[in-house]
């Protein structure tokens, strides 16, 4: 039981938690939060693998660490895009529901 | 000499941790927002200051020590401003 194993198991549990939140939470903002937790868990898994690769006087393998840094920035930009889409959805429909309302699709059919 | 420094570090960090604990107890037990803010900022700033003081003998002098002190001053500034903002919001509602 080393540090890498402890955090690896923690990462696995975070992935499970995030996935559950992504599926079960009805509100899109909470889904985005759960998606970020899922991402954090995956990155932590990379970190555990990097820690196990400690050699040549370094504390960890630098290649997975570089991948995770890139991943954190890209995950943030995905979150920002998701939030912008959500806010636009709210401005257009007044709610955050992801379901098409039957009334709107009917009126679109009669208009077009 | 190093034994005395280690004892000083352990004592200072323990006192700082105690202040953090006191601040958290205040956060959980005080009745409303303003008293909780008071508990948090008093205890956490003093707690962080003591921890920083305890870590000072172990960093490179002068620049490492200056960086630690700068961290403490920045946390003071940020938490003071944040507490003022929260308190004004509470006062205005």
């Amino acid at each position: 039981m080393s540090i890498a194993t402890i955090f690896g198991i923690c990462a696995a549990c975070l992935v499970g938690l995030g996935l559950y939140g992504l599926i079960a939470q009805p509100q899109p903002l909470r889904k985005i939060l759960a998606f970020n937790i899922l991402g954090g868990g995956i990155f932590l898994l990379f970190g555990a693998v990097a820690r196990r690769g400690a050699a040549a006087g370094m504390g960890g393998d630098p290649v997975p660490q570089a991948l995770v840094i890139t991943g954190i920035v890209v995950a943030f930009s995905a979150t920002a895009l998701g939030v912008a889409i959500l806010l636009r959805l709210f401005e257009e429909t007044g709610g955050t529901s992801l379901r098409d309302t039957p009334k709107e699709s009917q009126s679109e059919e009669t208009n077009s | 000499m190093s034994v005395a420094l280690n004892v000083f570090t352990i004592a200072a960090v323990s006192f700082g941790a105690f202040f953090f604990l006191a601040g958290t107890v205040g956060l959980l037990r005080f009745p409303d927002t303003l008293t909780r803010l008071h508990a948090l900022t008093k205890a956490d700033n003093l707690g962080l200051g003591l921890i920083m003081l305890g870590l000072l003998p172990h960093v490179a002098w002068p620049f490492g020590a200056l960086k630690l002190i700068a961290v403490w001053v920045l946390v003071l500034v940020a938490s003071a401003s944040a507490s003022q903002l929260i308190a004004r919001k509470v006062r205005d509602t």
């Binding site: 955090f7 990155f43 970190g47 954190i72 | 940020a78």
Partner: protein
């Protein structure tokens, strides 16, 4: 069972507890505050895994800037009607079973990782001297996997263009609206006036020192972005219009310089994105300067959002 293991175990349990709170919390605001705490504790975990560069980036981006983004969204969505469709009991049970399966599979993977662990650390260390850098992670980002980093900059730019494209047609090219009305001499503008110069200095220092010590362009750029967001929110600096020319130059500079260096390597005959012998470090620093500026501006604008009309208080 030494002290470090006990501390790591405690930290891992704390991280799981906070993540569980974020998933099951009642209100969005509480969940977002819990998420910021989760991000900060995750950066502690990164320090425990001996990855200080990642810890810096995670605490700046994952904890701070994402929290600001989500809190802003939560404030705007407060007037939204509640979402009615919730997953039934059967659905939740199925999701639970699925997630338990995924977790068990990943735990099995973690416990069955090969021993001794394969690692690229010796290979990375070997070529470190010829790059002129001292930090292996920066060398990996800027030299060994430079193509990944350049493409990541392009992804950031594309995300920003996608966010801008969400503006209604009549606001295209205008100014994004960000932040509520703040009184002139209030605590927020005091904080902005004191913190922003120091923050920009810290960001530049982090980028500069990343060549030989933990740091780098991403951590420095994230802190500069945070200072930009603070300035916009406090009203001490105006949010630039989307069509402003200097803004677009600053955004494109990172990718442009990177691509220029890459094509110069191609023209010199040594290949795409190769650096000249014995002159690698100045070229890398040049790319990193443009990158830090671009990352700071892009991340700040990603939080600010598309141009639009102001929403109510």
């Amino acid at each position: 069972m030494n002290v470090e293991l006990v501390f790591s175990l405690g930290l891992a349990l704390l991280i799981l507890a906070v993540a569980g709170f974020v998933i099951v919390a009642r209100g969005s605001f509480a969940a977002i505050v819990g998420f910021v705490a989760f991000g900060l504790m995750l950066s502690l975990a990164w320090m425990g895994l001996s990855a200080p560069d990642v810890a810096l980036t995670e605490s700046a981006l994952g904890g701070g800037v994402t929290g600001a983004l989500l809190l802003g969204a939560c404030a705007r969505l407060r007037r939204a009607s509640d979402v009615e469709e919730t997953l039934g009991l059967v659905g939740r049970g199925a999701a639970l079973v699925l997630c338990l399966g995924v977790t068990t599979g990943l735990v099995g993977v973690v416990l069955c990782l090969p021993d001794p662990a394969p690692t690229l650390a010796p290979v990375a260390k070997q070529s470190l001297a010829s790059t002129g850098l001292g930090n292996a992670v920066t060398a990996t980002l800027m030299v060994y996997r430079a193509l990944d980093t350049m493409l990541e900059k392009v992804v950031l730019l594309l995300a920003l263009v996608a966010v801008w494209s969400l503006a209604p047609d009549r606001f295209w090219g205008g100014r994004p609206v960000f932040g509520s009305r703040q009184e002139k001499g209030g605590p927020l503008s005091f904080l902005a006036r004191v913190l922003i110069p120091i923050g920009i200095l810290v960001g530049i220092y982090l980028f500069w020192v990343g060549a030989d010590a933990p740091g780098g362009a991403f951590a420095g750029g994230a802190i500069i972005a945070a200072m930009g967001i603070l300035g916009f929110f406090a009203g001490v600096s105006a949010v630039p219009a989307v069509s402003a020319f200097r803004l677009r130059v600053a955004l494109a500079a990172g990718v442009a310089v990177f691509l220029g260096v890459g094509l110069a390597g191609l023209a010199a005959g040594t290949g795409f994105l190769t650096y000249p012998e014995n002159f690698a470090k100045p070229v890398i620093v040049l790319i990193e300067v443009a990158m830090t500026l671009s990352i700071g501006v892009t991340l700040a604008l990603l939080v600010v959002g598309p141009p639009g009309e102001s929403f109510g208080p």
